[in-house]
């Protein structure tokens, strides 16, 4: 409900906002004095002349940097963005001595092109801020008020603008290492960047929706059938990994919290150790435990229970079940911890009155514990589910996505999740174009599930209703 309102409200503002902004820019120009007019070309000019040195110098520096950046670096890359380069680097052997002729590099063009576009937008935004400040100077002077000094500007970073101080560093980090790479990879999904097109000797270029068509094409050399196999298993895995862990974890928590059970702390600590020990140690050990020559097979053979070893990791069905079972070992302890905390919050008198009414333990669980837990942990279940969709560690440490099959394209195996397949495509096949497409698909699946489930959650729908 509230979301709908927000989105409609937002749709209205940007357009009218732009109109208002343009009008304000116009009025700043017509009404402002010559310093304001000159600030349209020389940023920070008005501020400097009004003795706001800190602001003025920063804006001037930004403009100088921007012009220098664009002239020496940015403009070239932006201009090459539409083609991603035309002349590849090659070795000219026509002369007596082979000479390397350096050409374009699609990778650099795409990356720096995106970066330069961002610099351009940032500059436009700052230019707008610069205009607004000049407008502010004009208004303040007209009202006969004092302009904020540099010292006041600086101090505001710890008072009303403290949020900007706090968020500056995280925002820069996220922009450089998350936003730019994600936009870059989204663009890669529309190019033919793969093993055959490795710049600088082989350029890549835009191919439109070809990769997406390839992903959805069934049969032939298409990725279609593999994609749906992997997607299906990803969903099945996430479902079992989330809900089995959840219910069994809750069960273990109830067992430990049961009245009259002693050494509660000991039981808990034993389970909690699995969280502490790095997964690559414990899971790799478990992987070896179930290997063909591992301990489990060895003892089963020794005791005469089987005649030949069980191929735990090479049989598709066994491997899949085993992964889910081993994941219980990983997933029960955190759920147990969380459930313990919440179970203690359930009012005891609810159980008392149920007991007086003659309810047995199972009935009490079904009509008191479970609804309470589900209500409180709804958001947790959602994050756990999306986390399991992308649970790289468990799959990769146990099977690496194996068993492989000739029926699957792109080096995928039958226990591969989308995310491990994405990893294989990137690292083993250097098939970046398809990896990027898979990445976008992972995003789509996560986003759709999150949105749909989030709206269905009772704790979101009526926050006050459950008491």
């Amino acid at each position: 409900m509230s979301k709908d309102n927000k989105s409609t409200a937002k749709k209205g503002t940007p357009l009218s906002g732009i109109g208002k902004g343009l009008r304000e820019i116009g009025r700043t120009f017509t009404e402002g004095d010559w310093t304001a007019k000159l600030s349209f070309v020389i940023m920070g000019f008005g501020q400097l002349l009004h003795r706001q040195f800190l602001r003025g110098i920063i804006f001037l520096a930004i403009e100088i940097f921007f012009i220098y950046y664009m002239v020496t670096f940015g403009a070239v890359y932006i201009s090459k963005l539409p083609t991603l380069g035309t002349s590849a680097t090659y070795v000219d052997k026509s002369g007596n001595v082979p000479v390397t002729i350096y050409g374009d590099n699609s990778f650099l063009i795409l990356l720096y092109g995106i970066l330069s576009l961002f610099v351009l937008f940032a500059f436009l935004f700052l230019w707008r801020v610069n205009i607004r400040q000049n407008r502010q100077i004009y208004l303040l002077k007209k009202a006969g008020k004092a302009l904020p000094t540099s010292r006041q500007d600086f101090r505001s970073l710890f008072t009303e603008n403290f949020d900007k101080t706090l968020l500056a560093l995280p925002n820069i980090g996220i922009f450089v290492f998350i936003v730019i790479p994600i936009i870059f990879m989204i663009c890669i999904a529309f190019t033919n960047y793969d093993a055959q097109h490795q710049p600088p000797s082989n350029l890549f270029g835009w191919v439109g929706l070809e990769n997406f068509k390839n992903l959805l094409s069934i049969g032939g050399s298409g990725f279609g059938s593999t994609f749906f196999t992997v997607l299906g298993w990803t969903l099945v895995w996430a479902f079992f990994a989330t809900f089995l862990n959840y219910f069994l974890g809750m069960g273990v928590a109830i067992l430990i919290n049961k009245k009259g059970i002693r050494f509660k702390k000991l039981w808990r600590t034993i389970l909690v150790m699995t969280i502490a020990i790095p997964q690559f140690v414990s899971l790799l050990y478990v992987y070896k435990l179930f290997a063909n020559d591992g301990l489990v097979n060895a003892y089963l053979l020794k005791w005469g229970l089987i005649d030949s070893y069980i191929p735990f990791w090479s049989n598709v069905a066994i491997a899949r079940v085993l992964i889910i079972v081993i994941n219980l070992w990983v997933g029960i302890p955190p759920t147990m911890l969380m459930a313990t905390g919440i179970l203690m919050n359930i009012p005891e008198d609810l159980y008392e009155s149920a007991r007086i009414d003659g309810a047995n333990a199972f009935q009490m669980f079904r009509s008191i514990t479970l609804p309470y837990m589900l209500f409180v942990t709804g958001p947790y279940l959602l994050t756990a589910f999306t986390g399991n969709l992308n649970n790289f560690n468990v799959i990769f440490l146990l099977t690496q996505g194996n068993p492989l099959s000739m029926d699957l394209a792109g080096g995928a195996g039958y226990t591969d999740l989308l995310i491990t397949w994405l990893y294989k495509l990137t690292v083993n096949d250097t098939n970046y174009r398809m990896a990027a497409v898979i990445g976008i698909m992972v995003f789509a699946v996560t986003a759709v599930i999150s949105l749909v489930v989030y709206r269905l959650l009772p704790s979101v729908r009526d926050e006050e209703g459950f008491q």
Binding site: M273, L289, F443
Partner: protein
Amino acid sequence: MANKNKEKKTASRSRNRKIGNAITYAILIIISIIWLFPFVGLVLQSFRSYASEYGGMVAYLMPKEFSLDNYTYLFSGDCSFVRWYLNTLIVAVCAAIFNTFMVLSVAYALSRLRFRGRTLLMQFWLILGMFPGFLTMICMYFLLQQFGLTQAGAIPGLVLVTVASSGMGYYVAKGFLDTMPKALDESARLDGASNARIAVTIILPLAKPIIIYTALTAFMAPWCDYVFASYVAFGYSKSYNVAVALQRWVWTNDYQGYFTRFCAGGVLVAIPVTILFLCLQKYYVEGVTGGAVKG
């Protein structure tokens, strides 16, 4: 087990409870054995002699002869285990310090300050978080390469990437700060304290549990980091972390005889992390529980 409770009250009930408890104990003991088995196995096999027994997979659990062969190998000159260990430790300590700083800055700003674009920023980061992390790998690798932070410089590179993107993991910390009463800030603001002053002198001391939680989780993550660590250090073994190095011992066929060495390395990695974790367990539980309820 509890269905019997239905029948009659008092006497039979206490008998039933005893049976119920006995069954519960039995289940808990079985669970404990299952959960502890891999660790016990790991420790036992790490003591198997490399010289007189085989270092690879064998068909028995108890070593025939206890020895420290595998441990001495790890610390001998043939193996850079100490280097790998230090690499991981450096990343972990840096992450614990700087991530905590970043996460708390973000959490504080989003939780206790109101500014333009706050919800927009949160929604934007939520959407960013839905993209799989590996998607960004090749681009990040290239960025790091530009600064010479791959292969030989992989460790500072790893620190940089870990810290730079850590701000997005603010959810648990924000949930914690949200629960602190607003009146705290307001009364201080009336006394003329600046936002920065309120953050440092009033909120920070009260946020100790969440600081420890954040630092602890940040410290533990690098011990498990395989994907990006192996990608950045590609082919340069001195920059491996323990996860990358030990993984190679388990997976590559030539390394068959290295299994017990892997066990020894695993034990050495697991011990300090586990001890630290168990000491700070209380804070971890608070974080997990609080985070779950807040969503």
